[in-house]
């Protein structure tokens, strides 16, 4: 964190929306397979999104913005992963009940109240990320909580919804999406804005993530989780940062957004003290076509010569200094303007604007400054911005710049922002209103019976933090307990531990440490099912295998899941050497080696140990072998 700004001192509030794909065979509203990603496509279609009238007969802010951008939306379609439902050419099929069950389970884990009838809603998205223009979504539970420190963080709701497309590119007026992920079921967990420091947001994110993973019914891996973080400070506005893939990014993003809001409030003060209210704002727009050819700036010159770009400008009277005011760390208010122009006017070649306050090398040369000052009657207290591009785009750009400066009189605009990996954010879109939710007339309401809820509740596993506590009480190390609490086969472990036949540490070591070690060597240990693990632990309990032989055993089971591991032990001659048999075996191995010539006779036990281990590795505990070997005379 780069300075002394303290978000908590500005009554920062932050909430989370966690989107996690769930593990179902099929998609949510059609019968396509879920979880298949592909890089091939067999067809493309082209669509546009039109804003629809809101209840009040007006187009809402986001809608209008998306329409201004007039994007051509291209969808790439793959034969294996999408059908005509995803294309929005077939109505939805009845909702996937497997997904509903998982959502109910997770809602119960989050202490939510489950609704007794689900109603599918349409949530409008005009950015093209969903071909229908809306996402089908439904509430499964409301009003839950997760424990955090000594308090509860409230869960506003748990929704079950279909996933959106993956954006491939967004260049100029064409945005391209892949559709393979579209319509995969995911759950959305919404917390109340009850986190008050950047670190708390990350910690609560981790708690929810662990809880979801502990069910074993959520997808893992890249892209399976996306989180939206909302932030507001006192006097600011709730701003949503969309699609944060990793929790470690949370604190920086939250901090920087709080800082940005703080600075936007300062800019608001600057505007009111400098010129007064929004009515006093003097923005003079100029068509600069007449002087365009005289501008010497390389980028403008090139655009005008090569692409017949038009040049326009706007002067804000008496607002010198505005564009250099800080917003996010290292960024100025000019960046806010540039972002709007990039998204809404589709001028995405940066820099997409230049202004008279930029004195850097990349900015306007004195010669250009003078030229523009004259063309726009610039006074010493004025500030001016120019943009260039196609006639329509550049008009939109200037409009948008004026709009954004007007919005600055209100402090923090209502918007969603995009997370960047450096912890800063870019403008994404105006925050959509509540009007974008409306009922899906294609889907009937579906009852969830009390019976069904109770059946799922009865099979609910305990939350991971309770399991961890239980495991550590059994003598399992904390870091292992944490892993075990989320392990898909933890039920097997619990059953084994309940029988009290094996040292808990050995059980956990086998499943977690050895398992992970072998997995790293690309043995598919993660594919072993409960029955395999039960067999392995039975063999350990019956002393048919030693710890030392477990790696061989596990790799065998992983490679031959259909075969009986006991046969393998016999065939491989790694059955344990018990009692006298071990002594006899070692003596037999030692006998022909007693006359080995050694440089130093005192090395004999170590040399013999090596020979013995080569022959009977895994058939007895190393310590027991050593005890016998060290007493073998020459």
């Amino acid at each position: 964190m780069n300075n002394n700004f303290d978000p908590a001192a500005h009554k920062m509030k932050s909430g989370l929306e966690v989107h996690h794909q769930i593990l179902t065979e099929g998609k949510l509203f059609c019968r396509c397979p879920a979880g298949l990603y592909t890089n091939k496509h067999d067809a493309e279609i082209l669509r546009h999104m039109r804003p629809t009238l809101s209840e009040l007969g007006e187009y809402d802010g986001t809608a209008l913005m998306e329409f201004k951008t007039k994007k051509e939306i291209i969808y790439l379609l793959d034969y294996d992963t999408v059908c005509t439902y995803e294309m929005d050419d077939t109505p939805p099929f009845p909702i996937n009940q497997e997904a509903v069950d998982i959502a109910i389970e997770i809602a119960l884990m989050l202490n939510c109240k489950i609704v007794s009838e689900i109603h599918i809603a349409r949530k409008q998205y005009l950015d093209g990320s969903i071909p229908a223009g809306f996402q089908r979504t439904t509430i499964i539970g409301v009003d839950g909580w997760v424990p955090y420190k000594d308090r509860k963080i409230h869960i506003v709701q748990l929704a079950l919804e279909e996933d959106a497309c993956r954006e491939i590119s967004d260049i100029g007026h064409v945005v391209t999406f892949k559709t393979d992920r579209l319509s995969m079921p995911l759950i959305e967990v919404v917390t109340a804005p009850e986190m008050v420091t950047p670190n708390e947001v990350a910690e609560v994110g981790r708690i929810i993530g662990r809880l979801l993973r502990s069910t074993g019914k959520v997808r893992r891996g890249l892209g399976s989780v996306r989180q939206d973080v909302n932030v507001s400070i006192e006097g600011g506005t709730r701003v949503e940062i969309k699609g944060v893939p990793r929790i470690p990014l949370f604190p920086a993003l939250v901090y920087n957004e709080a800082y940005r809001q703080h600075n936007l409030l300062k800019i608001k003060d600057f505007l009111t003290t400098t010129i007064g209210s929004i009515e006093d704002l003097k923005a003079d727009e100029f068509d600069l076509q007449a002087i365009a050819s005289k501008v010497s700036h390389r980028l403008i010159k090139k655009s005008i010569e090569k692409r017949d770009a038009k040049l326009r400008g706007v002067v804000f009277r008496n607002l010198k200094g505005l564009l250099r005011m800080t917003t996010q760390p290292g960024l100025t208010f000019a960046h806010e303007l540039s972002e709007r122009v990039r998204v809404i006017a589709c001028l995405d070649q940066l820099p997409n604007l230049l202004h008279t306050e930029d004195v850097s090398v990349a900015g306007l040369e004195p010669k250009d400054q003078q030229l523009l000052a004259k063309a726009m009657n610039l006074n010493k207290n004025d500030t001016a911005i120019i943009a260039w591009g196609s006639e329509q785009d550049v008009k939109t750009a200037i409009q948008e710049i004026i709009l954004r400066v007007q919005e600055a009189f209100g402090g923090v605009p209502n918007e969603t922002r995009q997370a960047k990996s450096n912890g800063l954010t870019d403008f994404e879109r105006i925050l959509p209103g509540a009007d974008r939710m409306y009922p899906d007339t294609d889907s009937p309401p579906t009852a969830i019976t009390l019976e069904r809820i109770e059946k799922i509740r009865a099979q609910l596993s305990r939350p991971p933090w309770e399991l961890e506590k239980k495991y550590t009480e059994l003598g399992i190390a904390k870091h292992q307990a944490e892993i075990l609490a989320l392990h898909p086969q933890r039920a097997v472990v619990e059953a084994v531990l309940a029988k009290n036949a094996i040292d808990p540490k050995l059980v956990v070591w086998t499943m977690i440490d050895l398992g992970k070690h072998l997995q790293r060597q690309e043995f598919p240990i993660q594919l072993l099912e409960a029955s395999h693990w039960e067999k392995v632990f039975a063999l350990i309990a019956e002393k048919k295998i030693y710890r030392e032989g477990l790696d061989l055993l596990l790799t065998f089971v992983a490679a031959h899941p259909e075969e009986d591991p006991e046969d393998y032990l016999a065939a491989q001659n790694i059955t344990p050497l018990l009692g006298d048999n071990l002594q006899k075996k070692i003596e037999k191995i030692a006998a022909p080696n007693r006359n080995l010539k050694l440089f130093d006779d005192s090395n004999w036990p170590k040399v013999l140990m090596g020979i013995v281990m080569g022959e009977i590795r895994g058939r007895a505990a190393g310590r027991d072998i050593w005890d016998i070997v060290k007493n073998q005379t020459r």
Binding site: H41, D42, A43, E44, I45, L46, R47, H48, M49, R50, P51, T52, L53, S54, E55, G57, E58, A63, I74, Y79, T84, M87, D88, D89, T90, K113, V115, S116, E117, I118, H119, A121, R122, Q124, L126, P131, A132, G133, F134, T137, T138, I139, V142, D143, V156, Q157, A159, V190, A434, D435, M437, Y438, P439, D440, T441, P444, P445, A447, L450, I453
Partner: protein, 462 residues
């Protein structure tokens, strides 16, 4: 408590609301054995069960609560919603042509009632302008709501009403007619209007939408824009259907009313011209005729022939193997005067039907043969069976589509019952319901998985 206060609630749910003194649009707190819920009580859909109360949560989501779980409902406020489509004054421009839009009930322009999910049709010029502002740049629009029917309820009475109204509007000087129509029976209406409104001097464009205009991805606006353009400026003065060409938002196709058919239950590009090319494609005010000849705009309005007649005693029999003769008998017994058979292959039915067909013929029933393959001609000379069936009095209708044949026979019987006269009208095409030849690209049903089709799909965004 009024019925409005309990809108859509029946049985147990209604009793509960009465008992708890709660009403629709009440802002409530509901205590259930699952916990507490807060929201607005919504009207219940008439078709849903009587066991749930629907609540709109503050987040905009709706949920249902089972009556048996509800302990108590407390009303803490009341917020009734009123719906109205915004009206904007449609600015007239003397330079632009005049189009009359006749509404029959489709949801070409509509808006969703966000609280109940009901569709409110936008219809007046002001409403349409509010929903599709681009229309102003195309024409002066006059609108009349003729009917408010879902397309499955549209029938002969509506066709006749439409025909008369079209004639009135054209006589009054409209430069083009647009008819907003539900898509399910759009092709039936298109055929009917082709027969009932002949020699029109201006285009009559039938338009609808496969995705209603309350959806961002709707085809409604583009269809409406293109239909208005085709009506105002299009050269082809015939009854035409204007709907999406491909599923992509690229262009509309204009289909002749007698050769068009809805071919998919939900696709945007569901309307196809069968056995011929479409008449024109239209996109962004670019109007490209695709076949000639056609009736050109600008004919003499006095030459217009309006024939709003229809005899409803006509049926289509879709033949299937082992069909029993009593199917035909029961139509005759019930007084039907015309039967269109959609026969197999080149136009066949099985032998056991022959005596019944003969009986029907002798009873004065007019029987015509079409093909259920949709593409291709009836050809009853190839096999003996065909000749036998013709001997029974069944008349082949070449490549007339079964639905079109149904409409035409009803229309013909509305004019005459004379067997020869009926046959003459039925077999003499008015607007391509029978074509003399099938062009080489008249039959196009591509199959996926072939390299050439895959290439087309990947390259052309259709």
């Amino acid at each position: 408590m009024t019925t409005e206060d309990l809108k859509g609630y029946r049985g147990a749910a209604k009793e509960l609301l009465l008992r708890e003194n709660a009403r629709v649009w009440g802002d409530v707190t509901i205590a259930t054995n699952q916990g507490e819920f807060k929201g607005l009580i919504l009207p219940r859909s008439e078709t849903a069960d009587d066991q749930h109360i629907v609540l709109k949560l503050s987040t905009g989501y709706n949920v249902g609560l089972h009556v048996s779980t509800i302990n108590k409902i407390e009303e803490i406020g009341y917020r009734k919603a009123h719906y109205k489509i915004p009206e904007k004054i449609f600015p007239p421009d003397p330079e632009k042509r005049n189009v009359t839009l006749l509404g029959t009930g489709g949801t070409i322009a509509s808006r969703l009632d966000y609280r109940t999910g009901a569709v409110i049709p936008a219809f007046s010029p002001g409403e349409l302008y509010g929903a599709v502002p681009e229309l102003v740049d195309i024409c002066n629009l006059k609108t009349y709501k003729l009917y408010g029917e879902f397309s499955e309820n549209i029938g002969p009475a509506h066709w006749m009403g439409m025909a008369q109204r079209i004639a009135e509007e054209i006589t009054a000087g409209a430069d083009g007619i647009v008819i907003g129509h539900g898509t399910d029976t759009m092709h039936h209406s298109a055929a009917a209007l082709t027969f009932m409104v002949q020699n029109t001097p201006v285009p009559v464009i039938i338009v609808g939408s496969q995705r209603s205009s309350d959806r961002p991805s709707s085809d409604a606006a583009l269809n409406l824009i293109n239909a208005c353009y085709a009506a105002a400026y299009g050269e082809i003065a015939e009854v035409l259907v204007c709907m999406f060409g491909p599923t992509s938002d690229q262009y509309d196709l204009l289909h002749r009313g007698t050769r068009v058919r809805k071919m998919h239950s939900s696709y945007r590009s569901t309307f196809r011209t069968i056995g011929e090319r479409p008449m024109a494609r239209i996109a962004k005010e670019e109007y490209i005729p695709m076949r000639t000849p056609y009736r050109k705009r600008g004919g003499d309005a006095s030459q217009m022939k309006i024939m709003p007649v229809f005899d409803e005693r006509v049926s289509i029999v879709y033949y299937y193997p082992n069909m029993k003769p009593d199917i035909i008998d029961s139509l005759v017994d019930n007084g039907y005067k015309g039967i269109i058979i959609a026969g197999t292959g080149l136009g066949h039915v099985n032998k056991p039907l022959y005596p019944s067909l003969k009986k029907a013929y002798e009873a004065g029933v007019h029987i015509y043969m079409t093909v259920q393959t949709l593409w291709g001609y009836v050809q009853m000379f190839v096999y003996d069976t065909g000749r036998d069936i013709m001997d029974l009095g069944v008349v082949p209708l070449d490549n007339m589509l079964p639905e079109v044949a149904y409409v035409k026979l009803g229309w013909t019987l509305g004019q005459t019952q004379d067997r020869d006269e009926v046959k003459k009208i039925m077999t003499t095409p008015i607007a391509d319901e029978i074509t003399a030849r099938e062009p080489i690209d008249g039959y196009l049903v591509m199959q996926g998985g072939l390299p050439e089709v895959d290439y087309y799909f990947k390259s052309y965004k259709r």
